[in-house]
C-alpha cells in the first residue's frame, strides 16, 4: 500500500526544471519588453489549452467546441468591465463563475452517447453562443465586436500599458496560479480517478468511482478555466469579437494540445508556444494560405502517430 502511494506521489513533486522555466517565463516581459503583447497572448492561449487538456487528456472527452467557454468568458469580462465595474480581478472572478455555471448546465450533454454525440453537442453549444452574440448586437456589438471596453488598473495600482508589460505579467501570474492548482488536482485521488475513467469507464464504475459526478465536476472546472482565459484575453486586449467562439479556435487549441502532448500540464504550454511560433513563421511566408500548411502538418502527424512527436527516439521504429 505504501509502495503504491509512494510511487504515485513521486511523480507529484515539481522538478527543478519546472521552477527554472516558470522563473524564466516570469522575467520574460522584462527581457523582451517589445514582445509583451505576444507573451500575454501565448500565455492566455496556453491556459486555454490546459483547460481543454483537463477534459481531453485527463478525462478522454473529445470536444470540438471548447471555444464556447473561452468566448463566454471573453464577452462576460468585456461586458462586466464596460457596464458594471472596470476592475480586472473582479471581472475575472465574475467571468469565471459565470462560465462555470455554463459548463455545469452543458455537462449533461457530454455524459451520454458516443464520441460523435459529444462532438456534436460541444460544437453545437459553441455555435449557439456565437449565433447569440451575433444576433444580440445591441449588447454585444454583433459582427463588429464589442468595443469601448476600458479596463481599470490591476489591484488598483498597475495600469495596463500600451506596451503590454502589465498585461503579460497579469496573464503569467494568473496562469501560474491555475497551473499550481491543476498540478495539485491531477496528482490527487480525484485526478487519478479521472484517468481511470478515461482508460476504462466501465471498470472505473465497477470499482466505485462515481463516473458521472466526476465528469460533471471536471467539465465545469475546465469550462471555468477556459472562461478565465477568455476573460483575460478580453481584458488585455480591451476587445471581444465573434471569432472567440469560432470553430477555428476550437480546432487550433486541439492542435496545440496534440503538439504539446495530451495528459500532462506542460502539454498546453509547449503546444501554445510551438503553435504560435509556427503560425507567425508560416504566415510570414504565405499570409493567406497558412491553413494549408497547418492542415498538411495535421494530416502527416496523424498518419505517423501523434505520440511519436514528443519521443524522437521512436522515429525510426514502425508503430
Amino acid at each position: 500500500m505504501s509502495a503504491v502511494s509512494d510511487s504515485l506521489r513521486s511523480r507529484a513533486g515539481a522538478r527543478w526544471w519546472e521552477f527554472a522555466i516558470w522563473l524564466l517565463l516570469l522575467v520574460l516581459p522584462l527581457l523582451l519588453p517589445k514582445h509583451s503583447l505576444l507573451i500575454s497572448e501565448i500565455t492566455i492561449i496556453a491556459l486555454f489549452a490546459m483547460s481543454l487538456d483537463l477534459v481531453l487528456g485527463y478525462s478522454g472527452i473529445v470536444s470540438l467546441g471548447h471555444a464556447a467557454f473561452f468566448g463566454a468568458g471573453a464577452y462576460t469580462a468585456a461586458l462586466f468591465a464596460k457596464h458594471i465595474n472596470p476592475d480586472p480581478l473582479t471581472g475575472l472572478v465574475f467571468a469565471t463563475a459565470l462560465t462555470a455555471v455554463l459548463g455545469l448546465v452543458c455537462s449533461p450533454g457530454i455524459l451520454r452517447g458516443s464520441d460523435l454525440t459529444r462532438l456534436m453537442v460541444t460544437l453545437g453549444i459553441a455555435l449557439i453562443l456565437q449565433e447569440l452574440a451575433n444576433k444580440m448586437d445591441q449588447i454585444t456589438g454583433g459582427a463588429d465586436g464589442l468595443q469601448g471596453v476600458v479596463m481599470g488598473p490591476v489591484l488598483g495600482y498597475f495600469e495596463f500599458d500600451l506596451m503590454g508589460q502589465t498585461a503579460a505579467w497579469y496573464a503569467l501570474a494568473i496562469t501560474l496560479l491555475v497551473f499550481l492548482m491543476l498540478r495539485k488536482l491531477v496528482h490527487s485521488p480525484f485526478g487519478f480517478s479521472l484517468k481511470a475513467i478515461r482508460d476504462n469507464r466501465l471498470r472505473a464504475q465497477a470499482i466505485g468511482i462515481p463516473v458521472h459526478a466526476r465528469l460533471i465536476t471536471v467539465y465545469t472546472l475546465a469550462a471555468a478555466i477556459a472562461g478565465l482565459a477568455g476573460g483575460m484575453q478580453a481584458q488585455t486586449t480591451s476587445f471581444a469579437s465573434l471569432d472567440v467562439f469560432g470553430f477555428d479556435r476550437s480546432a487550433d487549441v486541439l492542435l496545440m494540445l496534440v503538439i504539446g502532448g495530451t495528459g500532462w500540464l506542460w502539454g498546453g504550454i509547449i503546444g501554445a508556444v510551438v503553435f504560435k511560433t509556427l503560425h507567425s513563421m508560416v504566415s510570414a511566408l504565405t499570409p493567406q494560405y497558412w491553413t494549408f500548411w497547418i492542415g498538411l502538418f495535421l494530416v502527416l502527424l496523424m498518419l505517423v502517430g501523434r505520440e511519436k512527436l514528443l519521443r524522437p527516439w521512436t522515429w525510426g521504429r514502425r508503430s
Binding site: G109, G113, S114, L116, I125, I128, E131, I294, L303
Partner: protein, 287 residues
C-alpha cells in the same frame, strides 16, 4: 406557407444526398470524417469549372462532378483514410480537419475566394404557381427533389435487394463476423467510400446554386452534415432522410419566420435532441 415547406423539402433532400456518404462511413468503419464537405466542394467546383472554362452543358457536368468526387474519394481512401480506421476518434477528427483545411486553402489558391455562380440551363429555370400562388415551385428545386428522391429510392433498393447491399449491411452490423464469413470488408468499404464521396460531389454540384459555393463550403456545412448523421443515426437510410428533411424544413422556416434568430433554432434543436436521445432520433435500440 406551402412554398416554405417545398423549399425546405428541396433543401432537406439536398442535405440527404450530401450527408448519406458520411452516414455510411461512420456506420461502417466508425470513422468520423469531418472532411466530407470537401468532397462535396470538389463536386461543386468540378461543375462550375467545367461549365465556365470548358463550356460543358449542365447535365454532363453534374455527372462529371459525381465521377470526379468518387475518384477523389477512392484515391484518398486507398492512400490515406485506410490507415486511420484503427486510430482513436481524436486522431480521426484532427486528420480530417487537417484535410479540410488543406482543401479550403487549396481551392482558395487555385480558384479564388469569390462566390461561384452557376448558369442553370433554360429548361430548369422558371417557376410554377399553384392555387393562386399558395405554392410556388421553382423548377430547379422541383428537379432537385425528383433527382434526390430517385437517388434515395435507388440507394434503398441497392441496400436491400442486391448482394452488395446485403454484404454492406452485414459489415455495418458486425465487421468482424462479416469478415469471418468471407466478405471482403476492405473492398466493400472502398467502394462505399467512393460512392459516398461521389454522392457528396453530386450534392455539391446540384446544390451549388441553392447553397452557394465558395472555399469555406466544407466548414460552413460540416455542421449540417453532422447533424443529419448524428440525429438520423447510422443504422438505416430512413433515419438520415427524415433527419435531413426535418433539418431542411426547420432551417428554411426558422430563417423565414424569425430571421433575427438565424441558425440559432437549428443548433438548439440539435443539442436538445442529442441530450434527449444521444444515439439519434431514429436509431434502433441503444448500444
Amino acid at each position: 406557407m406551402l412554398t416554405l415547406l417545398f423549399d425546405g423539402v428541396a433543401y432537406g433532400m439536398l442535405l440527404f444526398v450530401l450527408a448519406i456518404g458520411l452516414s455510411i462511413t461512420l456506420g461502417l468503419m466508425n470513422f468520423i470524417n469531418l472532411a466530407h464537405g470537401a468532397f462535396a466542394m470538389a463536386g461543386g467546383y468540378t461543375l462550375v469549372l467545367l461549365m465556365q472554362k470548358a463550356g460543358w452543358p449542365f447535365l454532363p457536368s453534374v455527372l462529371m462532378a459525381f465521377a470526379v468526387s468518387a475518384l477523389l474519394g477512392l484515391l484518398l481512401e486507398v492512400t490515406l483514410y485506410r490507415r486511420m480506421y484503427q486510430k482513436p476518434h481524436l486522431d480521426q477528427v484532427l486528420f480530417s480537419i487537417g484535410l479540410t483545411f488543406m482543401a479550403v486553402a487549396a481551392v482558395d489558391y487555385f480558384v479564388g475566394s469569390t462566390q461561384q455562380l452557376v448558369q442553370l440551363p433554360e429548361f430548369l429555370k422558371g417557376r410554377t404557381e399553384l392555387w393562386d400562388g399558395a405554392l410556388g415551385m421553382g423548377h430547379y428545386r422541383l428537379a432537385i427533389i425528383l433527382v434526390c428522391a430517385l437517388l434515395a429510392m435507388g440507394l434503398q433498393w441497392l441496400l436491400v435487394h442486391t448482394r452488395f447491399g446485403a454484404q454492406l449491411r452485414a459489415s455495418v452490423d458486425d465487421r468482424r463476423v462479416a469478415a469471418g464469413m468471407g466478405i471482403n470488408v476492405n473492398t466493400i468499404f472502398m467502394a462505399t467510400f467512393a460512392v459516398g464521396s461521389g454522392l457528396a460531389g453530386l450534392g455539391g454540384a446540384l446544390g451549388a446554386e441553392v447553397l452557394g459555393l465558395d472555399p469555406i463550403f466544407p466548414l460552413k456545412f460540416m455542421i449540417y452534415f453532422l447533424i443529419v448523421v448524428a440525429v438520423g443515426g447510422t443504422s438505416s437510410l430512413t433515419g438520415p432522410l427524415l433527419a435531413a428533411l426535418l433539418l431542411g424544413i426547420a432551417d428554411v422556416a426558422g430563417k423565414y419566420y424569425v430571421p433575427k434568430l438565424g441558425a440559432f433554432i437549428v443548433y438548439t434543436l440539435m443539442v436538445l435532441i442529442l441530450m434527449w436521445r444521444p444515439q439519434g432520433l431514429f436509431s434502433r435500440g441503444n448500444t
